[in-house]
Point group: C2
Chain length 135, copies 2
DNA sequence: CAGTATCCAGACGGATACTG
DNA sequence: CAGTATCCGTCTGGATACTG
């Protein structure tokens, strides 16, 4: 049934999980958290090698953000060549069910790809179909 | 244990859920899917009113993208004042467990906020702590 | 109502080079 | 090693106005 009382909805957008998404799924945070969660502690350079396409600057930015949000801990070892290790926190680890749900859903990616093919193949001509440009 | 065999990881980033994140959590898609999933069919203007801060252009963009990905269906009713309805698809609905996991985790937002306060309060002086600028 | 058409700003991320 | 310092291009998303 169509909803017609779309008034009086709380502030912002009527979506309680939006803030969570901002915290967990900003750019690059997913691979970082995933790696730290799956494979344990890593030093900076190890993360760089895991996530091959990230630049040091961006990696630093994201790690700081995750540290600030309490999802990752940074440990500095004042040794001869400095050593720094990053580890996921308990709070970060509590995201596991989220990642699991995502991993399970990933079996559907094929369907998404098929849907895209269909959409792009459907002649933009004929009918009142919406013409979307591929993003 | 620290991982030291960070070599030979597949292509891209060693994170199988990254593609899913791109599909589901690009900007504004979360509120749109959430609303459609929770409250059923909506017409364009109803979505605009639900998600109060989105502009028509962006709403259109995101709806096209979701339609192309097969997560949403658009139905055009050629009536006197045109009527268009958006509905979530089966595929879209299959994301429910993901949203549920996210909703459950949202109880932790308070912890994140506390962590941010701590981080920002900790004097940037003293020790080898990383000085992060709030984003 | 359900969009489209423009235009624009500024945030984000990439490349490159340098340092404690 | 583990970053930081700069510079810069791009691309998204916002504001605004208009239309079938």
């Amino acid at each position: 049934m169509t909803n017609d009382t779309a008034v009086g909805i709380p502030p912002e957008q009527a979506c309680p999980i939006a803030p969570v998404v901002d915290i967990v799924f900003s750019r690059w945070t997913t691979p970082i958290l995933w790696v730290l969660n799956e494979y344990g502690r890593h030093r900076f350079v190890e993360l760089e090698r895991r996530i091959t396409t990230i630049t040091p600057k961006v990696l630093t930015d994201r790690l700081r953000q995750l540290e600030r949000d309490g999802l990752v801990v940074r440990t500095y070892h004042p040794e001869v060549p400095p050593r720094v290790e990053y580890e996921i926190t308990e709070l970060g680890r509590s995201l596991s069910p989220v990642f699991e749900a995502l991993a399970k859903w990933s079996v559907n990616i094929g369907e998404v790809e098929q849907a895209r093919l269909d959409y792009d193949t459907r002649k933009p001509v004929g009918g009142q179909a919406s013409r979307g440009r591929p993003r």
